[in-house]
């Protein structure tokens, strides 16, 4: 060695050293085992979850992304079947329903435990419900409890004694809930996170349980009763949950951990999937659908989802205050073409508001695309061939596909009816403000059902409905929605909804356009994840099985 060194000048030696160092790095750069491959081996699921959760406190948040995480950490009285989401026993192992279907008695299982080892009791549920309804918390989803006796009054501050509300602890293992009306979808309602329990001693320890900004939801503090426990939370980076050792049904849980990634850009997410970092994506860029359909159809998932894309019409503004004009505009939209040429994700053209098959309900009143009839109606309204009609303004929030759809509709109205339309786009919050203050003529909108029942789509349009935002009010419609709530017999109740939606489709304060589909990628080794209309996937049934 000494000999060789003598022959090298210092400069040449340094040069060789540099080259050697560079080449020694290269083998380290070869194909590595991907995160997904490691995950398959260690039973760790990697999921894209859209955006960073606002929080993971069920009494504060409203979003879907938050729900996807919380459903791993918490469990309500009932849980859901992974295939069709019908309610199955959760913390309650069984329940009795009174003959008038207004009183539910839940019997809690004695092995249900919080992640700190405390037993889950009926009082935990009662206190959590009280918290969600306490006015000072300002919980947006408090209304999910309003089917319960006096819950709304307590939330409004009209009743101050919580004992007057329809929740009663009979003993540690028995909880009774009394409803105002027989509510056929009550058990489905219980799947919503506003019905999840929280561990109140933990909340008291980290802040005021009845105010926002409680800091109990951090790793190391979070006490839950679900099948997983919170292990890691790095904002905008990752949330990791690990299998809970205290969960009552832990033997069924196959996954050791789940990692949720808040990847906002769909392109970034799709690349992460291709690089082997995700088992399941949250979404898929529309431009990639065709590629996967032809090259890798096995991983492409498309299925109907409880969401409708529609246009609100401001019935207080001429010329759309005339029902005939609204009907004519609705009839002249070629929905098939929008779905096929713009969306391309298997969306279903919508001729009514409630997605078909919502809890066994499919609306019979169907809007017709009929240009001749549309022209007749328009002429009747005083605008033959669109003559004399002032331009209609279509408002949408700034997003590429909203613009494309609005342009297509603008073109359809122009060529088929001779009606001019002007497009107005506004940034999200400005658009919301315009919509709320009825400062628009026609405006794009979407609605996702909170639970699997037509009521979640149809009670929006009552006169007092906070999300009506069309200026439309119809006493008969209001009466039908109240009547549906009071009808115990399920089939009769759906008939009332049929009448209500037929009325809505005749009056047209909204113009349905299409029903959304959920589109994402899923690796074949993911088992126990079923497509369903609410896009809920209970994690305890899931597993990763790589073919041997």
């Amino acid at each position: 060695m000494q000999f060789a060194f003598n022959h090298l000048s210092r400069r040449r030696f340094v040069r060789y050293l540099g080259a050697a160092a560079t080449f020694s790095l290269l083998p380290g750069c070869g194909k590595r085992e991907t995160l997904v491959e490691v995950g398959d081996r260690e039973l760790v699921l990697h999921i894209g979850n859209g955006t960073e959760p606002q929080d993971i406190d069920p009494g504060v948040v409203t979003g879907v992304q938050e729900y996807h995480i919380m459903m791993s950490l918490l469990e309500g009285l009932v849980s859901e079947d992974p295939v069709d989401l019908h309610p199955v026993p959760g913390v309650a192992e069984r329940w009795d329903i009174s003959p008038d279907r207004r009183v539910y008695t839940f019997h809690l299982r004695d092995n249900a435990k919080w992640s700190n080892g405390d037993p889950v009791t009926a009082r935990d549920f009662l206190e959590s419900y009280q918290r969600n309804l306490t006015p000072s918390l300002g919980y947006e989803y408090a209304y999910m409890h309003f089917v319960v006796k006096n819950a709304e009054a307590y939330n409004n501050g009209k009743v101050t004694d919580f004992n007057q509300c329809g929740y009663r602890v009979i003993d540690d293992r028995t909880l009774e809930v009394t409803l105002d009306n027989p509510t056929p979808y009550f058990l489905s309602l219980l799947l919503h996170h506003s019905w999840y329990p929280v561990h109140m001693p933990t909340l008291r320890k980290w802040g005021d349980p009845y105010q926002r900004g409680n800091r109990w939801t951090r790793p190391g503090r979070y006490v839950g009763n679900g099948s997983f426990v919170l292990a890691k939370w790095r904002v905008n980076d990752i949330i990791e949950v690990r299998k809970s050792p205290t969960y009552w049904d832990r033997d069924r849980v196959k996954l050791n951990a789940i990692r949720f990634y808040p990847i906002e850009s769909d392109d970034t997410e799709e690349r992460a999937y291709r690089a082997g970092q995700l088992h399941i994506t949250y979404t898929l860029p529309p431009s990639k659908i065709e590629h996967y359909r032809t090259h890798d159809p096995g991983v492409l998932q498309i299925f109907p989802f409880l969401t409708t894309y529609f246009y609100r019409v401001n019935v207080t503004k001429p010329p759309v205050n005339d029902k005939r004009v609204r009907q004519a505009l609705a009839m002249a939209i070629d929905r098939e073409s929008i779905v096929k040429n713009i969306m391309k994700g298997g969306e279903i053209p919508a001729f009514n508001l409630t997605p078909p098959g919502t809890a066994g309900y499919t609306c019979r009143a169907q809007l017709k695309e009929d240009i001749a009839e549309a022209k007749r109606l328009l002429a009747e309204a005083g605008y033959p061939d669109g003559k004399g009609m002032p331009p209609v303004e279509i408002l949408y929030n700034t997003l590429e596909y909203h613009r494309t759809i609005a342009e297509a509709i603008q073109e359809m109205w122009k060529t088929k009816l001779g009606v001019e339309a002007r497009l107005v786009n506004e940034e999200w919050k400005v658009y919301l403000d315009s919509q709320r203050s009825l400062n628009y003529q026609v405006c794009r909108a979407g609605w996702t059902g909170d639970y699997n029942d037509p009521n979640t789509f149809l009670d929006l349009w009552t006169t007092s409905g906070g999300n009506n935002e069309t200026g439309w009010s119809n006493p008969e419609y209001d009466r039908l929605i109240v009547q549906a709530a009071a009808t115990a017999e399920p089939q009769q109740r759906l008939e009332v909804f049929q009448k209500a939606e037929a009325l809505l489709m005749d009056e047209m304060p909204i113009i349905p356009i299409y029903f959304y589909t959920r589109i994402y990628l899923q690796r074949p080794e993911v088992k126990g994840w079923y497509s369903n209309i609410l896009d809920n996937h209970p994690y305890k049934y899931m597993s990763l099985e790589t073919p041997k």
Binding site: C29, G30, K31, R32, T34, L35, E52, Q54, D55, D57, V60, V61, T62, P135, S136, L137, G138, Y139, E140, Y143, N155, N156, G157, Q211, R212, G213, N214, W216, T217, R218, R234, V235, N236, D237, I238, Y261, I263, E264, S265, D267, T268, E269, R271, A272, R274, A275, Q277, E427, W428, K429, V430, L432, D433, R436, A445, G446, W447, G466, N467, E469
Partner: protein, 306 residues
């Protein structure tokens, strides 16, 4: 020198104050609020939430409360988008990520940019000049939302050397730093080439050559300091831009940095977060410009007497 620095720091206080005040009042002029969503909330719920965040008070009172907390406690308030977090916590988590990414990008830019620029200036009007300068022009022209995905496609998806996104392993730094650095690298190489050419044509260089100084000595000892002055004055604003994070690079690589908060806060109308990020960025811009001025004075003796 100390007096100069002290004076500049004093000067920056009113700048920051004005930035805070203008941002605050502009923010309150924006239509829509942090709690407006597609689902409208009942007036009761809205009132409770506004009360909790103090949004029910007159704007001037909100302003004084905010400034008081900021000046006395350095408290940037509670995020109105991420409920359980304070702005201080969120920035403490994300700003170091942006700064790290920025510094790594800058390192890439400086290392390759300077080498390319100096070599090009020494090989003026040869292939050794044209090739790096053409690459530099491309680097300036091609936006990072093109270079980023291309680097990912080749090195992450095709070769499998890196992850396509994330910020969890040391190797996750490589592609984002390259993407971010490329643009600055291009600038630096052009600026350093220009600066070096100017110095190399000066009389004192000719004298040095006449006296038989080696080419290495001419570059290292006589030209580099003067030739890179323009790079340094470019670096002031560039560094503050590069370390405060790049929304595009952070989005492409899904990096948990502060730039996403900055832009997101405006869309979400998250007042405290918008104020916090704006102020932190303002401080960084002021500090980096000051630093660049100091380095310039150190490098250019002529400035010391002004």
């Amino acid at each position: 020198m100390l007096r100069f620095i002290f004076k500049r720091i004093l000067e920056s206080i009113p700048v920051l104050f004005i930035v805070a005040t203008v941002t605050f009042f502009l923010l309150h002029r924006m239509p829509g609020g942090p709690f407006d969503t597609e689902r409208s909330m009942t007036p009761e719920v809205k009132k409770q939430i506004e009360e909790y965040y103090g949004l029910d008070k007159p704007v001037t009172q909100q302003y004084f409360n905010y400034m008081k907390r900021l000046i006395l406690h350095g408290d940037l308030g509670v995020s109105q988008k991420y409920f359980g977090w304070t702005v201080n916590e969120l920035l403490a988590g994300s700003l170091p990520v942006s700064i790290e990414l920025g510094l790594e990008g800058l390192l890439v830019a400086l290392f390759f940019g300077l080498i390319a620029g100096v070599i090009a200036s020494l090989r003026k009007n040869t292939a050794g000049d044209y090739v790096p300068m053409s690459v530099a022009t491309l680097g300036i022209c091609i936006p990072s939302f093109v270079t980023g995905p291309v680097l990912i496609l080749v090195f992450a998806i095709e070769f499998g050397w890196f992850n396509a996104s994330g910020w969890n392993f040391p190797r996750d730094r490589v592609l984002p730093a390259m993407t971010l650095g490329l643009y600055y690298m291009a600038y630096i190489s052009r600026l350093s080439r220009g600066g070096m050419l100017e110095i190399l044509s000066q009389d004192f260089i000719r004298t040095a050559r006449a006296k038989g100084a080696s080419e290495q000595r001419i570059v290292w000892k006589h030209s580099l300091r003067g030739g890179l002055l323009s790079v340094v004055s470019f670096l002031g604003p560039a560094v503050s831009g590069i370390v405060t994070g790049s929304l595009v690079v952070e989005t492409i690589f899904d990096i948990p940095g502060a730039a996403r908060f900055f832009v997101g806060a405006a869309f979400n109308r998250d007042g405290p977060m918008l104020m916090g990020t704006t102020l932190v960025y303002a401080v960084l811009v002021v500090a980096m410009n000051l630093l660049a001025d100091i380095v310039q004075v150190w490098m250019n003796p002529r400035l010391r007497f002004e």
